[in-house]
C-alpha cells in the first residue's frame, strides 16, 4: 500500500543517513523518490558524498566506495526489519583493511539480533568470526566441510 511504502522509505532513509557516515567515518548520503507526486510507483535514488569530497554522480565513486555504500544501504534496510539471518558472499572483496574493520564491527553489532554468514578470502574478516568453516576440495569436484579452530 502507498502509506506503508512511504513509511518504510522514510524510516530506512533516516537509518541510512546514520549508517553511511558511520561506515565512512563522515560524509553524508540519503535516499530520494524520483517522483514525489507518485509514491505508489516512484523509483528510488541514492545520493552520496564521501567525507571531505564533493557530491558527484555515483559512477565516479571508487570500487570500494560503491561497495561500502551498498553495504550501508543493505544494513539500513536490515536494521529496519531484521531477517533471522543474513548471508554475505565476498562483499569485502573490494574493501581495504580499514573499511573491512568497520564492516566487521558493524556485522558484530547486528549479530546479537540475527545470524550472519560471511563468505570471505580475507584474514581480517575471518578474525571477526565466532566460528569458521573451511570448505575443501581435495578430490576435484567434491566439496567437504571441516570446521576450523578459532582458538587462536
Amino acid at each position: 500500500s502507498r502509506d506503508r511504502f512511504k513509511e518504510t522509505f522514510e524510516t530506512v532513509n533516516s537509518i541510512f543517513q546514520e549508517t553511511f557516515p558511520r561506515m565512512f567515518q563522515g560524509g553524508k548520503a540519503y535516499l530520494s523518490l524520483c517522483d514525489e507526486s507518485n509514491i505508489l510507483e516512484s523509483g528510488v535514488e541514492i545520493s552520496v558524498q564521501p567525507p571531505g569530497k564533493r557530491a558527484g554522480t555515483l559512477a565516479l565513486l571508487s570500487g570500494g566506495e560503491k561497495a561500502l555504500t551498498a553495504v550501508s544501504l543493505i544494513f539500513s534496510i536490515f536494521l529496519h526489519k531484521p531477517s533471522p539471518f543474513c548471508i554475505l558472499d565476498e562483499v569485502d572483496a573490494p574493501l581495504d583493511d580499514a573499511n573491512i574493520g568497520r564492516f566487521a564491527r558493524m556485522v558484530a553489532d547486528m549479530s546479537d539480533q540475527s545470524q550472519f554468514l560471511l563468505i570471505t578470502h580475507n584474514k581480517k574478516t575471518m578474525d571477526s568470526c565466532g566460528m569458521l568453516y573451511g570448505v575443501t576440495m581435495n578430490e576435484p569436484g567434491i566439496s567437504k566441510i571441516v570446521s576450523v579452530d578459532l582458538a587462536a
Binding site: 511504502f5 513509511e7 518504510t8 530506512v12 535516499l31 524520483c34 516512484s42 523509483g43 528510488v44 535514488e45 541514492i46 565513486l61 570500487g63 560503491k66 561497495a67 555504500t69 551498498a70 553495504v71 543493505i74 534496510i77 536490515f78 526489519k81 531477517s83 533471522p84 539471518f85 543474513c86 548471508i87 554475505l88 558472499d89 565476498e90 573490494p94 556485522v107 558484530a108 545470524q115 550472519f116 554468514l117 560471511l118 563468505i119 570471505t120 578470502h121 574478516t125 575471518m126 571477526s128 568470526c129 565466532g130 566460528m131 569458521l132 568453516y133 573451511g134 570448505v135 575443501t136 576440495m137 578430490e139 576435484p140 569436484g141 567434491i142 566439496s143 567437504k144 566441510i145 576450523v148
Partner: protein, 180 residues
C-alpha cells in the same frame, strides 16, 4: 527463527552428505576458489524455495544435481534440508490460518522446523515439512509468517554488492518494498 543446521546431499559439488551446524552470531566460510562456498549459499536459496535456475547460476534446475567428476558418475537426485530453531513460534494471522495447509499449521508450535527439498533428474520434486510431504506453496506460506520470506536484502550473492549501487530506480524501490 535461527538456522540450526544445513544438510546437503548430491547438491552441486556436495556429492556426499554434508552437514553444517550453525552457531548464533557470525560464522565465516572460507576455502580456495571453486571449492564450493557459494554453492552452500545456493543450497540455502534453493531449499527456501528459489524457483529460478538463473538465480542459482544454472541454465535449468537440473544443474543443481551433482554432475559427476573424473572418478564418479553423476547422481540421480539432489536434496537439501534446513533446520530452524522455532524459538519464537512464527505468526499466522487469523486470515492466513484459514488459508494455510494442515502441514503448515502442524509445525507452527514445533520446537524445530525442518524443511527438505528434493529434485530428481526425472524432473520430479518433493518438499517436506518436519518430515511430512507438502507443496512448495506451503513452504513459502510458512516462511512468509516467519520473516524469512523472499528478502532480497538478506542474501547478497557474490558480485552483487557492486551492482546494487548501479541499479535502476525501480530495482532500488523493490529492495525497500521487501522490508515494508
Amino acid at each position: 527463527m535461527r538456522i540450526k543446521r544445513l544438510e546437503l546431499n548430491g547438491f552441486k559439488s556436495c556429492m556426499n552428505r554434508t552437514v553444517l551446524d550453525f552457531p548464533s552470531g557470525v560464522t565465516g566460510i572460507v576455502g580456495p576458489n571453486g571449492c564450493g562456498k557459494s554453492n552452500i549459499v545456493d543450497a540455502i536459496r534453493w531449499v527456501l524455495g528459489e524457483q529460478s535456475a538463473r538465480h542459482l547460476r544454472g541454465q535449468s534446475m537440473e544443474d543443481v544435481i551433482f554432475a559427476g567428476n573424473d572418478n564418479h558418475a553423476s547422481l540421480g537426485a539432489a536434496e537439501v534440508t534446513i533446520v530452524f530453531d522455532n524459538e519464537e513460534a512464527f505468526h499466522l494471522d487469523a486470515e492466513q490460518e484459514e488459508l494455510v495447509a494442515e502441514a503448515v499449521a502442524a509445525v507452527r508450535d514445533a520446537a524445530e522446523i525442518q524443511v527438505t527439498r528434493r529434485l530428481f533428474r526425472s524432473g520430479e520434486s518433493e518438499y517436506l515439512l518436519n518430515g511430512a510431504k507438502c507443496r512448495l506453496r506451503d513452504i513459502t506460506d510458512m516462511f512468509l509468517g516467519t520473516g524469512v520470506g523472499s528478502k532480497a536484502y538478506s542474501i547478497i550473492e557474490q558480485g552483487r554488492v557492486g551492482r546494487i549501487i548501479e541499479s535502476k530506480p525501480d530495482e532500488l524501490r523493490l529492495l525497500i518494498e521487501e522490508a515494508a
